[in-house]
């Protein structure tokens, strides 16, 4: 047994606590260069990560940073600080624990660089920023361990790639650095181990007892859920009843807008005035902290939340998790259930509340998948080079660097282990000169190579600009919202696109209150209180999920049943109705529906080929429709279907599926479509071509959109092989499958296309209208709509008569 410091052991003993076997194992193997612990939430995972640090620091440690702890969420870092300080302080250990996130004040941040704590709790972005300072070597001198908590949440995003590059830098500064990853249950632990370890170090995987299966079921309500809609208003009484019956309930939503609406409705029905709070990422920090504090103090009976509470935050005595709306991914569902009942080895309790009838079907399929331990996941390719470019710039901020050494350092990061020197050099060239075929302004390059061979920033002013743009999170552009008047308190943020649609007097929900839009001042939305009851719906997106392909296969199989005794009656009737008015999708056939809705002509293709393939199909079909003069306006894809809307109805969809014509369009759509432009914007921002923050003043999102589209068009025309165009193509291909999947689907379907023309939305199509991620198609429809609008405006203003008079 590795002994704990005596005072800590006593503290454990007085509580009658003993160490879990996996915690003991982590202590025993603490000297290994990399370790990955897979444990269910509530399994004392975080303590398992910290115990070796507490042992090594002992009772009276010497000053200096010993352990860097990285978590995906600021709130999680703050929460760990609270929880870790309790044993440390009560056991009387002289260990300093501090957090450092975007919320930390600037003077504390400065002090931390000069005089770091023993344990620093931070996020990938804050860590990357720390490594960009000239004094990084001093700040990190002597660091022994880095603990990456909830690493599964970082593993499939660019945040994980960024973190691994930052760790590669730390390993250069502190060659003996040991790495520990803590993960919830995942389908492929070896992939996470490869990500975590310094390449080519080995990484042992420890697996804790997964504990009993979760107690998870669907909340069956008396009231039938609607055909479409995400509000789950029908379930309010049943949810309130559950809140009453439990100590603390977490009520998860897939989007912020849904959380706001639900919270609002919950309060309207909350006759007992149960204390219920709301928490999501668009709320102002002070508001979030107030809710967090109330939660910790056990003052709340329920909290309505989104992904901002998603990750292992150990708040109060949660004994029930309710998931409103379909859990779009089984893995996420299982991890969310981990919130409930943090006592190890007691089953977690969770209820699923489908918001509409399609989600009832999804929920039943998801429950089957959980019971079958069928976790889904997508394999992730090599690390993207936009993040690499950002880290070359970060390295330059820290001081002059040697390209050979930097290449060696970066290829020690798991995601970049296979990066060739030539591809690295392309990134270095991009950072230095822009990497354009036309070398116009080389005398003003960003990085220059000195006579001694080292690279450095040409203009020291660049460093501040680069630091302001560190990070890989592409949040949609949002505007702050605050009460009108001098020094009005901030409320949170809304999407800029939504703000643009507001006129004075419109009302919307934020933080659970209805507010009235007063105007925009210095890029801040000003609002006043409004006593009304019917708000306009805010469109902020929250997190976007892709439903997994496995789940969609389960669903199409379910459709083939003659009847559905496993489904609630209302949902079985709904499927029967779909079969009656239209058809249900069948394997080996392709169902297409067309109908007018919302003033537009709609086309739904039920391909069940997974979201990526359906998205590709949406791009190809809209391109064909544009060529055929059908004026498509946009599309949205789910795992099951692609919905396309436009000005003209499609009367015969068969010619649209002409494979040769679709394939001929491939090059064209790849270059010019909205998905590519969106991808370019994200990659160009990460790689440092587009600056999001300029002198602390964030550019308005609309201008950024415009200029990035123009930059994209310019590069496409003059420099199509530019590094950023390559990266954009690579990135877009991650989200869009190659043409093979479409070809497969076409071969499977053959000529068995069932086209159903309806006069209104079909039951199965209704939920598609709520899907986020709608892709606009800019083409002839714009010109036609514009011509209509101009005619209308002319008529309205009387300009038409004036013109006619002038023409006489």
């Amino acid at each position: 047994m590795t002994p704990l410091p005596a005072s800590l052991q006593r503290w454990f003993d007085t509580r009658g606590w003993s160490i879990h076997p996996h915690q003991q194992e982590m202590l025993k193997r603490a000297r290994e260069p990399a370790l990955l612990l897979i444990a269910p939430t509530g399994g004392g995972k975080t303590l398992a990560g910290f115990l070796p640090t507490l042992v090594e620091l002992g009772e009276a440690p010497a000053p200096g940073l010993h352990t860097v702890y990285v978590s995906p969420l600021k709130a999680l870092a703050a929460d760990i600080k609270r929880n870790l300080r309790i044993p440390v302080e009560e056991a009387g250990l002289a260990v300093r624990i501090e957090d450092r996130t975007g919320d930390t004040s600037s003077h504390v941040k400065r002090r931390q660089r000069a005089d770091p704590p023993h344990i620093l709790l931070t996020t990938p972005e804050s860590l990357a920023l720390l490594t960009s300072y000239e004094d990084a070597a001093r700040t990190f001198a002597g660091v022994e361990r880095v603990v990456v908590d909830e690493i599964h949440a970082l593993a499939d995003s660019k945040r994980g790639d960024q973190l691994m590059l930052a760790l590669a830098r730390l390993s250069t500064l502190c060659p003996g650095l040991r790495r520990v990853g803590l993960s919830a249950t995942v389908d492929d632990p070896a992939a996470i181990a490869r990500l975590l370890a310094r390449h080519p170090d080995p990484c042992a995987i420890l697996t804790a007892d997964p504990g009993p299966d979760p107690d998870i079921s669907m909340l069956v309500t008396d009231a039938a859920p609607p055909w479409s809609g995400g509000g789950a208003a029908h379930a309010i009484p049943a949810v309130l009843e559950q809140v009453r019956r439990h100590r603390t309930t977490l009520i998860f939503h897939n989007t912020r807008a849904q959380a706001e609406i639900f919270f609002h409705n919950l309060w309207l029905a909350n006759e007992d005035a149960l204390p219920i709070g709301i928490h999501h990422g668009s709320l102002d920090r002070m508001q979030r902290q107030k809710v967090e504090a109330a939660m910790v103090a056990g003052q709340l009976r329920a909290i309505v939340c989104t992904g901002s509470l998603d990750l292992g935050i150990d708040w109060g005595d949660v004994d029930l998790v309710i998931q409103i709306g379909a859990p779009k991914n089984v893995k996420r569902l299982v991890q969310r259930i981990g919130r409930a009942n943090h006592r190890y080895n007691a089953p977690s309790k969770a209820l699923l509340v489908p918001a509409n009838r399609f989600e009832v079907v999804e929920c039943v399929a998801a429950l089957d998948a959980v019971k079958a331990h069928d976790l889904d996941g997508e394999p992730r390719g090599p690390g993207p080079r936009d993040v690499l470019c950002q880290h070359i710039l970060i390295a330059a901020c820290a001081g002059p660097f040697d390209a050979d050494l930097l290449y060696r350092e970066m290829t020690s990061a798991g995601p970049y282990a296979a990066l060739t020197r030539a591809r690295f050099d392309d990134c270095l060239q991009f950072c230095a000169t822009g990497g354009y075929a036309l070398r116009a302004y080389d005398r003003w390059q960003r990085l220059l190579q000195r006579p001694d061979g080292l690279w450095q920033l040409r203009d020291p002013r660049s460093a501040a600009r680069i630091r302001q743009n560190i990070g890989t999170i592409q949040d949609t552009d949002t505007l702050k919202v605050r009460w009108r008047g001098r020094g009005g308190a901030p409320l949170g943020e809304i999407e800029e696109g939504f703000a643009a649609s507001l006129s004075k007097g419109d009302t919307f929900l934020i933080g659970g209150q209805i507010v009235r839009y007063e105007g925009l001042r210095d890029l801040v939305v000003e609002v006043s209180r409004d006593p009304g009851k019917k708000p306009k719906i805010a469109t902020f997106m929250g997190t976007k999920f892709a439903t997994s392909t496995q789940l969609s296969a389960r669903i199409v199989a379910m459709f083939q049943q003659d009847s559905w005794p496993d489904l609630p009656g209302h949902t079985a009737q709904w499927l029967a109705l779909q079969r009656d008015v239209s058809r249900l999708p069948e394997p080996g056939r392709l169902l297409i529906e067309s109908f007018p809705h919302d003033g537009r002509q709609q086309l739904v293709v039920y391909g069940f080929a997974g979201r990526n393939a359906m998205q590709t199909l949406g791009l190809l079909l809209t391109k064909r429709m544009e060529e055929m003069g059908l004026a498509p306006m946009g599309f949205v894809a789910t795992d099951y279907a692609t919905l396309i809307w436009g000005l003209d109805a499609v009367t015969d969809p068969v010619p649209l599926f002409d494979l040769e014509a679709l394939e001929a369009g491939l090059d064209g759509w790849l270059a010019g479509n909205a998905v590519m432009k969106r991808t370019f914007r994200a990659s160009a921002t990460i790689a440092g071509l587009i600056e999001r923050n300029l002198g602390g003043q964030r550019k308005s999102g609309r201008q950024a959109t415009m200029s990035s589209d123009i930059l994209y068009d310019t590069l496409l025309k003059y420099d199509p092989d530019h590094l950023l165009m390559q990266i954009t193509r690579e990135e877009a291909m991650r989200g869009l499958v190659d043409f093979d999947r479409i070809r497969e689907m076409a071969a499977r379907v053959g000529s068995r296309i069932d086209h159903v023309t309806l006069d209104r939305v079909s039951p199965l199509a209704a939920p598609l209208f709520l899907e986020p991620g709608r892709v606009p198609v800019r083409g002839s429809a714009d010109e036609r709509l514009l011509a209509d609008e101009v005619a209308r405006l002319m008529e309205e203003s009387g300009l038409a008569q004036v013109d006619a008079a002038g023409g006489r």
């Binding site: 920033l457 660049s462 003033g599 590069l715 514009l786 609008e789 405006l793």
Partner: protein, 219 residues
């Protein structure tokens, strides 16, 4: 397709590109070319934008010159993104400008980005008057028959739920404001305070794009 409109007793033509043509004088007017914008960004330690905006702008300008056969050209200011950039443009682009200038009466009006002479051929003036029209960079509150640029106006429309944004001309009884012609130029919405203040009630916006047309200025 172009949009012909009367202004101060003259007949003017708004071209799809955002240039203005005065047929009676055989005169083409463009505003806010912002040549060398990417160079300026690089100079101050910012990102290095694709250095192709100047040739793209020149390409469009050449198209309009060919299309209208204009013999006289007025650039309404902010032709260069900064005074130093004029001479620092790549040789090929400087030659291209000279080629366009050959055989044409060419005037550079001074803008806030390029207040002094820019070291290229052509006449440099703070402002210029031709018949009833005065050409200057920034509109004045009291100007009569004033043709200017500076604001990069754009109109934002909601078309059955779809947002559309187009650079536009702004026109009232006494003044005409041109959209920015340069490739890397953002825009200022017609709803913004300075434009709303400046333009008289009943002002029109002439949208650029495939078929320019006039609508009441969105406010």
């Amino acid at each position: 397709m172009s949009h012909v409109f009367p202004f101060q007793g003259t007949q003017l033509v708004a071209l799809p590109s955002g240039a203005l043509f005065w047929p009676d004088r055989n005169l083409l007017v463009v505003s806010d070319l912002h040549f060398g914008k990417s160079a300026r960004a690089s100079r101050f330690g910012g990102a290095q934008l694709p250095p192709y905006e100047t040739r793209e702008t020149l390409l469009r300008l050449e198209d309009d010159l060919t299309g209208t056969r204009a013999r006289q050209v007025i650039c309404l200011g902010d032709s260069f993104d900064s005074p130093e950039v004029g001479g620092a443009l790549p040789e090929a682009e400087l030659l291209w400008i000279s080629r366009l200038q050959a055989g044409r009466d060419w005037t550079w009006i001074e803008g806030n980005h390029d207040p002094g002479p820019v070291g290229l051929g052509g006449t440099h003036l703070a402002q210029m008057t031709l018949g009833p029209l005065t050409f200057r960079h920034i509109a004045t509150a009291t100007g009569q028959g004033e043709v200017s640029g500076h604001y990069h106006p754009k109109a934002m429309l909601s078309l059955r739920g779809r947002q559309l944004s187009r650079p536009c001309f702004l026109l009232d009884q006494t003044r005409l404001i041109l959209p920015a012609f340069g490739t890397y130029t953002g825009g200022l919405t017609t709803r913004s305070a300075p434009l709303a203040r400046l333009m008289a009630p009943g002002a029109q916006a002439i949208l650029t794009g495939p078929s320019p047309c006039a609508i009441p200025m969105p406010r």
